[in-house]
Amino acid sequence: MRKNRVFGVAMSGLLATAAFGAAPVAAQDVTLDLWNFGAMGLEELITQYEAEHGIKVNIVQRGYDEHHEALLTSLMAGEVPDIAAVEVGYNSLFKATPQVFTDLRQFGAEALEPTYLDWRWAQGVATDGTIIGIPTDVGGIAMCFRTDLFEAAGLPTDPDEVSALWPDWDAFIETGKTFTAANTGAKFIDSAGGSVYNLVKNQGTEKYYAPNDPDTLIYETNPQNLKAWATAVAAIEAGLSANISQFSPEWNAGMANGDFAVLGCPAWMMNYIQGQAPDTAGKWNIASAPEKGGNWGGTQLTVPAASDNAQAAYDLIAWLLTPERQLEVFKLHGNFPSTPELYDTPEIQDFTSEFFSGAPVGKIFAESAKALHPVYEGPRERAIDREFGNGLGRIEAGLETADEAWASTLANVLLALQN
């Protein structure tokens, strides 16, 4: 009797488990986890998609490095989100193991290729041909500046005249000195790393690695990197930098309070300014960057291989990143589309931003996006980049001279690359 009862309990438990496991999942019950970083401007569209398709999307947003670190950890552990952003600085690191991502060719993603800029598309394709992600925006570079502070310093405020002030980076530094001499109480730029070094570095054809060669490091000799460093050092030594690290709370506060007059502006930076400093509407305008050209950033949306909802995740990505939706994101937030068919349309060409004093942002960033060219970023791109940023930070904080910082940075890069 007793034995039977125990057996019965065990059986019913098994049956319950089996029934639970076999319960059909209704389409409405799909919940997608989406991990991203920073300001991508996709929230409104995702809300719209949820309403139209009866699914739920959990967005988890982290800091830039934290996001990629958490993603890597989750890929190793197998507890993954359904959709994950991968930024170009981390691209090569992730692409080295394409098997941890769903090959989007199984959903026919290759048909989307002609829609996007060639080099942006290529950033989502691994060497074995696996398509791991679809491109979001492009970060063509311009300069955002505060018209009120420029006026206070006796500088022109018309974007064309401002662009004419700094045809090259030396002229930019000179303009900064003029601005500083006027004693407005604000600094010229937020940080030498963010608004000078990164921009100059991103204007080159090579960064830290030789093109498409994950084994050859050229940061020590690449003239563009040397120039980026030297220009940033010149900006620090001229006292132009407010020395605030980007994406920190102080940076947000400084942006809102007008502690700096110029901010290097890849298109997505407009999203940050409008989000962090909404009260500064109408006080900004946009000029072209010294020496023009250059791209900073760019993200692919990927589907980790261990996702249970790969199809649903892909459907959402493909829907989110069509030209018309990228256009919508651009108009709302500033992140510029990676789909060239839009660039010459009146929607882009005639689009002006009220927040940026009516600047023709569509025309500005379309111009810059057309001029972009692919730049290879290697597997440890971000680790090297952080050391150069820290090196400049040590000069800004007065802890090291420029020469000392260059030497210590090279030593630190070697330590960081050690395996």
Binding site: M76, L93, S245, E250, G254, G391, R394, A397, G398, L399
Partner: protein, 312 residues
């Protein structure tokens, strides 16, 4: 029971269950602790030791490298820097903290003080506040441009300090967080010990003409020796592992390296950086083991000291 049984007699035979209970019952009762400790304490420690002998990167398989990671660590300037920072923050936070706790405990022990219960409870509030919240509040207090501390310094006619920028200033700021959090806790432990000191010692001292200050130094402090050592051990173990305070203090992407010059990167942050930023699990495990050995060393020294003092 055994005495009542006679050979060949009808002794009360304990059941199989009863005999099992006698033999292994005790182990069963203490098993939960050991199982939990094994799962969450011992196995990870041993696994970490195994990992520390391997090179193991992100999304790849471990390869055995023997003690290479240990050799590399001892030659790594970042390790020595982190070790110095940890020690420095520990000293700057522990020494003033214990002096302050001793003083506060003494005040709370005074018979004259009213509302003792409230004060004693208030002492623990910082300790039960989330360390993350403490960190966020303190890092805005020590903010360079909009921080309260710089506002105060300026209104006193002093210069602003960029707290995060240099080694000494960042260590002071971080130590302040640690002190704010742990002083009350240590005060209560010292207070409990103070209350256990026999009153007649003070009476004798008073009869010998010792003033209050003299009584404090010749009666209270020596009587508290063991407790002070206990408190020191506990704060050593905590201090060696300090992590959240410097992490939150840094606030941004620079926090994990402890600033641009690693000026406030502690050992635990260095471990985290190698493990979860650079994804070098072997190397990170090596740091963990070295940290473990250092803490073990400190604890043994402390234990020997306590024993010797107890014997005196």
């Amino acid at each position: 029971m055994a005495t009542t049984s006679t050979p060949g007699g009808a002794a009360p035979r304990t059941s199989l269950w009863g005999r099992l209970d006698e033999r292994i019952g005790g182990y069963a009762y203490i098993a939960p602790f050991f199982i939990v400790f094994g799962l969450f304490g011992l196995i990870p420690i041993l696994f970490t030791a195994w990992v520390s002998l391997h090179q193991w990167g992100a999304l790849s398989d471990p390869t055995f490298v023997s003690f290479d990671n240990y050799a590399r660590l001892l030659a790594d300037p970042r390790f020595w820097n982190a070790a110095f920072n940890t020690l420095s923050i520990w000293v700057i936070s522990t020494v003033p903290q214990l002096i302050l706790a001793l003083f506060l405990a003494h005040v709370l022990n005074e018979t004259l003080l009213r509302g003792k219960g409230i004060f004693r409870m208030a002492m623990l509030v910082p300790n039960i506040t989330s360390v993350l919240a403490v960190g966020i509040v303190f890092s805005s207090i020590f903010g360079r441009d909009y921080g309260l501390m710089n506002f105060l310094l300026e209104s006193l006619g002093l210069n602003r300090v960029d707290w995060q920028a240099s080694q000494p200033s960042s260590h002071v700021a971080i130590s302040t967080m640690v002190m704010w959090r742990w002083t009350g806790y240590n005060t209560l432990i010292l207070l409990a010990a103070m209350q256990a000191i026999p009153r007649d010692l003070y009476e004798v001292a008073a009869m010998d003409g010792a003033g209050r200050l003299r009584q404090f130094f010749t009666v209270t402090v020596p009587q508290l020796r063991n407790t002070i050592i206990f408190v020191t051990i506990v704060s050593t173990i905590g201090g060696m592992q300090i992590f959240t305070e410097p992490l939150v203090f840094g606030g941004t992407q620079q926090a994990i390296t402890g600033g641009a010059a690693r000026q406030y990167q502690t050992l635990a942050l260095f471990l985290y950086e190698q493990g979860f930023r650079n994804f070098q699990f072997g190397y990170a495990s090596t740091i963990a083991w070295v940290l473990f050995i250092v803490i073990l060393g400190f604890s043994v020294v402390n234990l020997l000291l306590t024993r010797r003092i107890a014997r005196d």
